[in-house]
């Protein structure tokens, strides 16, 4: 049983409370205040502006498009990553030679930061003389080099590909941990009953993995939504904000254009969106855990 030592307890948490208060909670309050103020280009508040910054967002067609792009990017990356990671996790759970090597190799994109992943892909795709263009031309699949990062469609394909590749390690390792907690007696029982691989996958593995799938998806949504370096390094949102996501757009509005007021309003919007999403999701998870198996 924890002891009741109020003074010691408070003293022990004091440093954390102060640091998190100053670096996390105070900036949120400051950003909230900015979102209701006129803010100059040095990020100083100059008087109350009411809802003007929020109203400006509604008439900002770029913002609305970037919002749609962000949803598209998050859903595409998290969705495809999950679909790819399930068989990867199943394979990693098998007994085969080179299993340790496969796991070690799969960790590499995870260990490298998002920025480094993005910068390497930029080199692979960049310009006329990239290795991808060269190879495709030598195979006579294309006649002209493609400027992959130069037009909207191919740039999105590249950005999403990189997003997926950096998300696969965490997702598949997390699903693997979930798989390993499935008691093997269940499979043995299923095999005795004559269930094949796919039958036991659909009826045993997938339902038992549901809690870990939910948690992993929640974390992935938050990570992917926030992954600033990938679009920033690959395209910086070009052409004309068409490959921006909310985090890069906010960054540009605030730190390149000095529009701190509207940027703060957008930041608050994200704050509310993500918080609502997380709370709903964790609520669902708790409910599921209650009614779920065990």
């Amino acid at each position: 049983m924890p002891r009741s030592e109020p003074l010691v307890g408070l003293l022990f948490i004091l440093p954390t409370v102060v640091l998190v208060g100053v670096i996390v909670f105070y900036p949120i309050v400051e950003t909230a205040l900015m979102s209701f103020s006129n803010v100059n280009s040095l990020a100083q508040r100059e008087g109350f502006a009411g809802l003007a910054n929020y109203q400006a967002l509604l008439s900002d067609t770029v913002f609305l498009r970037v919002l749609a792009q962000t949803v598209f990017w998050t859903v595409a990356v998290v969705g495809i990553t999950t679909v790819v990671s399930i068989p990867v996790a199943l394979a990693l759970n098998l007994n085969f030679h080179g299993r340790r090597l496969a796991r070690a190799l799969l960790i590499v994109p995870w260990a490298a930061s998002l920025m480094i992943n993005a910068i390497i892909w930029r080199w692979i795709l960049d310009g006329q003389h990239s290795i991808i263009n060269g190879t495709l031309m030598r195979l006579h699949l294309i006649d002209q080099p493609i400027i992959w990062l130069g037009s909207e469609g191919t740039a999105w394909a590249a950005i999403i590909l990189v997003g997926i590749l950096v998300s696969i390690p965490f997702t598949s390792f997390s699903l693997l941990a979930g798989l390993q907690s499935v008691p093997s007696e269940l499979y043995e029982a299923a095999m005795v009953d004559g269930a094949g691989f796919w039958a036991s996958f659909w009826h045993i593995t997938l339902p038992l993995m549901r809690p870990v799938l939910i948690v992993t998806t929640l974390l992935n949504v938050i990570y992917v939504f926030n992954s600033f370096p990938i679009p920033w390094v690959l395209t910086q949102g070009s052409p004309a904000y068409r490959t921006d996501i909310l985090v890069t757009y906010i960054y540009k509005r605030a730190f390149a254009e000095g529009q701190f007021g509207p940027a703060a309003a957008m930041a608050m919007l994200i704050f509310v969106l993500l918080l609502a999403f997380s709370l709903t999701f964790s609520h669902i998870t708790k409910e599921r855990a209650k009614v779920g198996i065990k």
Binding site: L10, L105, A112, I270
Partner: protein
């Protein structure tokens, strides 16, 4: 599923895994191949998969051709200090959550959890304003404080979970023998928590080592750049020296990779710790 016989599904899964691993490792293999090319071979057409001349010396000259040493030192200092600060604050707070009752405990626990759901970009504007007010912009101290704070919630949760799993009787015996609360923590609990301390320290370190967006916002003087920022700044040059850039990128990955493999078992447990509870 380990006992499943090697049917078609077995081979299909392994083939799929092989493809995913190949695609995942390809950029790093190509980065290595680029880093070992002489400058003249960077834009040769048609492009080649392997260098014609292997320029092993790139990994030596890169340290002086660009201020790589400076960037690495900045990153080491920032990451180590951020990790130490993080641990110094997280240990007592985690211990308090695990072992002590105090007013506001529930609120403290919930508030920590909520901070993990914040997007760094949401904090960025207010944080920039704050660092400007206290005159810490373009000073690496701003990064140390920010990194320590942003990985703190995770560390506290992670350590609290571990401390809870240690039998309380051991501490009680020590305190019976005249040990104070702090004495019990330092002499009994911490030595028993080495794996958790290592894992949480490694997480804090990697987080700081890899962080890019906040450094990009706070730091403007080239001499103050951390490694990710330094590598990114290669792109701004008139003609990008991709061989050096790739060498620097690979150098940046190595310490993280070693630490990752060191704590492989705790990796997933750690990353989902806050969310599952």
């Amino acid at each position: 599923m380990k006992r499943h016989e090697r049917g078609l599904s077995w081979w299909l899964l392994l083939a799929f895994l092989a493809v995913v691993v190949a695609v995942s490792i390809f950029p790093f293999a190509f980065a290595l191949s680029t880093s070992l090319r002489p400058r003249a071979e960077l834009f040769s057409f048609p492009p080649t998969w392997f260098p014609k001349t292997w320029a092993w010396e790139n990994f030596v000259t890169v340290w002086t051709a660009v201020p790589l040493l400076r960037y690495v030192l900045n990153s080491v200092v920032v990451s180590v200090l951020a990790t130490l600060l993080n641990m110094a604050f997280a240990i007592p707070a985690g211990y308090a959550l695990a072992r002590l009752n105090f007013p506001g405990k529930r609120l403290f626990r919930q508030a920590l959890l909520v901070t993990q759901m914040f997007s760094p970009v949401v904090l960025l504007i207010g944080l920039f304003r704050f660092m400007n007010q206290v005159h810490l912009l373009d000073n690496n101290a701003s990064l140390v404080i920010t990194y320590a704070a942003l990985s703190l919630a995770f560390s506290v949760w992670f350590l609290a979970g571990y401390f809870e799993s240690i039998p309380i009787e051991i501490e009680e015996a020590a305190m019976m023998d005249g040990c104070t609360r702090v004495g019990a923590l330092v002499r009994v609990v911490l030595p028993m928590s080495k794996p958790a301390l290592v894992a949480s320290g490694v997480f804090a370190f990697i987080w700081a080592w890899n962080e890019f967006m906040i450094a990009l916002t706070f730091i403007s003087t080239p001499d103050n750049r951390t490694l990710p920022l330094g590598i990114y700044s290669f792109l701004g040059q008139y003609s990008v020296e991709w061989n050096y850039l790739m060498a620097a990128a690979l150098i940046a990955i190595v310490p993280v990779l070693i630490l990752f493999l060191l704590i492989e078992k705790n990796l997933v447990k750690g990353l989902t710790a806050g969310a599952v509870k």
